[in-house]
C-alpha cells in the first residue's frame, strides 16, 4: 500500500467516523463510547503481527504484553458494550402494552 493511498483511506475514514456519530442521541453516548473503545481493539491484529515476527527475548516479552493487553481491550470492550445494549428495550418490545403504553 503506497503512502498516498493510505492517506486517502485515513481521510475517508475520518469523515466516516464523524458522519456515523453525528446524529447519535445522548442516550447512546455511553454504549457508543464503549463500542468505539471495542473497535480500536483491532490493535490486536498489529500486536499479533509484532509478536509473530519477534525474535529476541525482549521483543517477545513486549509483544506478549501487547497481545495480552490488546485481547483485553477487544474482549472487555465487547463484553461491556454487549451487556449495556442488551438492556435497551422499547415499551413495545416489553409486550402486552401493559407498561408505559399510554402516552
Amino acid at each position: 500500500m503506497t503512502g498516498i493511498i493510505a492517506l486517502y483511506i485515513f481521510m475517508l475514514a475520518a469523515f466516516t467516523g464523524y458522519e456515523v456519530i453525528a446524529k447519535v442521541p445522548v442516550i447512546l453516548h455511553t454504549p457508543l463510547m464503549s463500542g468505539s473503545n471495542f473497535v480500536h481493539g483491532i490493535v490486536l491484529v498489529g500486536a499479533m503481527v509484532a509478536l509473530g515476527s519477534a525474535t529476541s527475548p525482549l521483543e517477545k516479552v513486549i509483544g506478549f504484553i501487547g497481545v495480552l493487553l490488546a485481547a483485553g481491550n477487544a474482549v472487555g470492550g465487547y463484553a461491556v458494550t454487549e451487556r449495556m445494549l442488551e438492556m435497551f428495550k422499547s415499551s413495545r418490545s416489553q409486550g402486552a402494552g401493559k407498561r408505559g403504553g399510554r402516552h
Partner: protein, 446 residues
C-alpha cells in the same frame, strides 16, 4: 492465477470485510432500535480479522500468541461480565488503557507516544473513578512541564524515526516521557470531568492504532483506528458541550473537582419546606403527568428499580410518566440511560433535555431524585454563578416539585440550589431507595 488465492490476498479481503463490519456496527449502534445488533456486527468483524491474522506470512511464536490472547481475553471477559453498571466508566477507561498500551508495545514511534500517553492517562482515570486516587495534583508551571515532557518525547521520537539514534536508551526514554505525560496530564483533572478525559483518550488510542496501521501497512487498522479517532473526538466535544465546558477548559482548569470549595454566588432566599412520603404519594397518584428527573444519587442509592416500580404503579393508574435525563446525569453522558435500562425502563419513556424542557409546564409533579445542579435555576438567571449558562432541566416550571434528598446540603459543585427554596417545591428527606419504597406503599394505599 495463483496470486489471487494467496494467503495475503485472503487476509486483505478479510480485513476489508472487517472494516465494513466495523463501520456498519458503529452505524447501527447510533440508533436505539438497531444498537444491539451493532455490537454483534462489530464483534464479527473483530473475529474475522483476528482469525485471518493467524495466516499472516512469516508469523511464528504461535503458542505465545495463543497464550497471550487467552489470558487477556479471559481476564477481560470475566471483569466485563461482572462489573456493576455504575462502574462502567472506569471499566471503559481500563480497557481503553489496555488498547493504548498494546499500541505502545507495537513499537511504532508516533503511535507509540500516543498509545503510551493514552495508556498511563487511562489508568489514572480508572484510579480516580474507582476511588484509588483521591487527590488532584496541581502546582504552578504544570502546563509548562507537560509541554516540556511532550517536546522531549517528540525529539526522542524524531531521533529514533530518522534512525540517528535507535538505542535502547532512546526508546526507553521515549516511552518514559510519554507515560509521564499521560500521568501528569490526567492527575490535575477532577473526577466529574473524567468521562470527557476518558472519551479523549479513547479517541487518542484510535489514532495510535491508525498510526500503527500506517507503519504495518494494515488498512483494517487504519480504518478502524481513524473512525474511532474522529468519532471519539466528536463524542468528546459533545460531552464537553453538554457540561457547558470547552475541551481546553476541562483539560487545563481543574474545576471538576469534587473536593468542592464553597463557591460564591447570589444568596438564596426562602425556606426549605418538607413533605412526607404519604402526601407526596397521593400528590403523584392524582396527577395527570409526572416527570421524573433522576441523577447519579439515585444510582448510588440503588433506587432505580424501586423508582421504576413506582412509575409502573402510576402508569397503571393512568398517569403519564416521563423520565427527563440531563446530558450529564450519571457519570458520563448516557450513563443514566444505561442505569434506567438496567432497571427495565423502556427507552421511549426517557427524554433528553431538548425534548422534555417544554413539557415541564404541563407537568403536575416533577420528581427530582438524586439530581441537583442540573435542575438549579441559577444556571439560567444568576450571572455570578459558576454554572451560569449550563443548560438545565426546567423542573422549576412544573406545578409541583418534589425533591428526594438525603439531607440538606449543596450539590456536587458546592453551589446552593435555588430550586429547593421555591414556593412550589417540597423536600422529601431520606435514602432514595427507602423513600421510593414508601412512595410505592403510599400510591398503593390510595
Amino acid at each position: 492465477m495463483g496470486e489471487y488465492f494467496s494467503a495475503t490476498a485472503l487476509i486483505q479481503a478479510s480485513y476489508l470485510v472487517t472494516a465494513f463490519l466495523f463501520v456498519m456496527g458503529l452505524k447501527r449502534m447510533s440508533s436505539p432500535v438497531t444498537a444491539r445488533s451493532g455490537i454483534l456486527w462489530a464483534g464479527a468483524g473483530m473475529l474475522v480479522a483476528t482469525l485471518a491474522t493467524f495466516f499472516y506470512p512469516g508469523m511464528s511464536n504461535y503458542p505465545l500468541i495463543l497464550i497471550a490472547v487467552a489470558i487477556g481475553a479471559a481476564i477481560a471477559w470475566i471483569s466485563g461480565k461482572r462489573v456493576a453498571m455504575t462502574d462502567i466508566p472506569q471499566m471503559i477507561a481500563l480497557y481503553n488503557g489496555m488498547g493504548g498500551g498494546a499500541a505502545a508495545a507495537t513499537l511504532a514511534v508516533l503511535g507509540g507516544i500516543i498509545g503510551a500517553v493514552s495508556f498511563s492517562g487511562s489508568l489514572i482515570a480508572f484510579g480516580k473513578l474507582q476511588g484509588l486516587i483521591r487527590k488532584s495534583l496541581r502546582f504552578r508551571g504544570q502546563q509548562f512541564l507537560n509541554l516540556l515532557v511532550l517536546a522531549l518525547a517528540l525529539v526522542l521520537g524524531a531521533l529514533i524515526a530518522t534512525g540517528s539514534n535507535a538505542s535502547v536508551g532512546a526508546v526507553t526514554g521515549l516511552f518514559g516521557f510519554s507515560l509521564l505525560l499521560g500521568v501528569s496530564m490526567t492527575l490535575p483533572i477532577g473526577g466529574a470531568d473524567m468521562p470527557v478525559v476518558i472519551s479523549l483518550y479513547n479517541a487518542l488510542t484510535g489514532l495510535a492504532v491508525a498510526f500503527e496501521g500506517f507503519v504495518l501497512g494494515n488498512a483494517a487498522m487504519i480504518i478502524a483506528g481513524t473512525v474511532v479517532g474522529s468519532a471519539g473526538t466528536l463524542l468528546t466535544q459533545l460531552m464537553a458541550r453538554a457540561m457547558n465546558r470547552s475541551l481546553g477548559n476541562v483539560l487545563f482548569s481543574g474545576f471538576g473537582d469534587s473536593g468542592g470549595a464553597v463557591v460564591a454566588g447570589a444568596a438564596v432566599s426562602g425556606s426549605l419546606k418538607p413533605i412526607d412520603a404519604a402526601d407526596a404519594g397521593v400528590m403523584m397518584a392524582f396527577a395527570q403527568k409526572v416527570i421524573v428527573v433522576p441523577g447519579y444519587g439515585m444510582a448510588v442509592a440503588q433506587a432505580q428499580h424501586k423508582v421504576w416500580e413506582l412509575c409502573q404503579l402510576l402508569i397503571d393508574r393512568g398517569v403519564i410518566v416521563r423520565f427527563a435525563i440531563h446530558p450529564v446525569a450519571g457519570r458520563m453522558p448516557g450513563h443514566m440511560n444505561v442505569l434506567l435500562a438496567e432497571a427495565g425502563v423502556p427507552y421511549d419513556l426517557i427524554a433528553d433535555l431538548e425534548e422534555i424542557n417544554s413539557e415541564f409546564e404541563t407537568a403536575d409533579v416533577a420528581l427530582i431524585i438524586g439530581a441537583n445542579d442540573v435542575v438549579n435555576p441559577v444556571a439560567r438567571n444568576d450571572r455570578s454563578s459558576p454554572i451560569y449558562g449550563m443548560p438545565i432541566l426546567n423542573a422549576d416550571k412544573a406545578k409541583n416539585v418534589i425533591v428526594i434528598k438525603r439531607g440538606q446540603g449543596a450539590g456536587f459543585s458546592g453551589i446552593e440550589n435555588a430550586l429547593f427554596y421555591l414556593d412550589n417545591t417540597r423536600m422529601l428527606y431520606g435514602d432514595g431507595q427507602a423513600v421510593a419504597a414508601q412512595l410505592i406503599a403510599a400510591v398503593k394505599s390510595v
